[in-house]
Assembly symmetry: C2
């Protein structure tokens, strides 16, 4: 018998079941948050005996980790789709699309958002696997800045020497963007998440009436600070 080109039945079934388990786990997170996620409950919903799930995830932490990675993936997908639909030269529009996609995803999946950007799971340390997906998300904002520079839409800024070295690591991760504009980008980035977190976590309750309008307004302020008066 020749070496099978396709994966064996066994490994295909395995992949399918793994996907299915993750899907169920995701529903549990959506329903009641990550902190109460239980391997037993997931196994139960999958029609498995509780110990069987250990064939797929060696521990609860590993399941959570898989969920986190998948969360970043889905978020990155959503943001990429949103941003890529905008004409390349429309920098403000691209920034808006990023912001709106992020917010829409967070509103549609509040517990997943909380899993990624809320209180870290106690004892959990993000493994290296997550980095790639996180970078995907931030790369999108980066690309807007890069294009703004290329199109001469933003003026060169200056930052102090201490500040330059305070974000040296960022410059290593994202070498295309000069430090002066990275400083802007990082503020824009965290401000955006500040807005979304406040909305999702309820801190704008009794403060904001119309979140759509409010968000659009504030996002444009952020955008103006980062891609200038383009």
């Amino acid at each position: 018998m020749e070496k099978p080109v396709l994966a064996s039945t066994r490994s295909r079934v395995r992949a399918e079941i793994t996907t299915e388990l993750l899907k169920i786990a995701r529903q549990h997170v959506a329903a009641s948050g990550a902190s109460s996620l239980s391997l037993r409950a997931v196994a139960r919903d999958a029609g498995m005996v509780s110990s069987a799930i250990y064939r797929y995830f060696p521990s609860r932490d590993e399941l959570l980790n898989a969920l986190i990675i998948q969360g970043y993936e889905q978020l990155a997908d959503a943001v990429e789709v949103g941003e890529s639909a905008v004409r390349r030269n429309d920098l403000l529009g691209r920034h808006r699309a990023v912001a709106n996609s992020l917010r829409a995803w967070a509103r549609a999946n509040p517990h997943d958002y909380a899993l990624l950007y809320g209180t870290p799971v106690p004892g959990y340390v993000a493994p290296i696997d997550t980095v790639a997906q996180v970078l995907r998300v931030s790369a999108i904002l980066t690309s807007i800045i890069v294009d703004a520079l290329r199109l001469n839409r933003i003026a060169p800024a200056t930052i102090s020497k201490p500040m330059r070295s305070a974000i040296r690591m960022a410059s290593v991760t994202v070498p295309e963007v000069p430090a002066e504009h990275l400083a802007n980008g990082l503020l824009a980035w965290s401000s955006l998440f500040g807005l979304v977190s406040f909305e999702i976590f309820g801190h704008f309750h009794n403060v904001v009436d119309d979140f759509d309008v409010f968000f659009a307004f504030e996002v444009d302020r952020i955008a103006n600070a980062v891609v200038g008066i383009s």
Copy 2:
């Protein structure tokens, strides 16, 4: 016997023990986060039998709630102390003081910060008791804007009509500040928390080297947007 002016021994002891229990609970939160807080463990550390704690808190949720209120209180205290040390006319300095106090408190009490501004406890709905303390914190930033207006340090801005009505509730809560400047204040406020959350929750890991410098830099950008070029 005349009506006792001082509280009875019993009620004084009760208050002391309640305080002590909260202190222990706070330590538990500091050590391992709110999600794993257990009434039994707190009772144990207090040298009580597990059921005795029900004389003080009717349920775990009530304990958590008390912790949340106390958290807002302590945060408000910290920010008030920091801000009040600055000369009244130094608006930028006051804004810096607010930001630095917030961040210092969050760094000193990361789990408390997470309890207040991270993932909401599932099923938990902030009771009205918390509102007063939350307002204390935001009132400080508000006072800076009010003073900036009084001192003519910020120019009148304009906002669209939809935006004005989108934050009508905020205008009710904080009537002293015109909506145009509230729009700025809300962004500044949530941006500040975005920065702090990203730092505390580890999203600037491998991005920022020197958080003190970075934070100071970005906070000044925020301040410039809210109290202008004062």
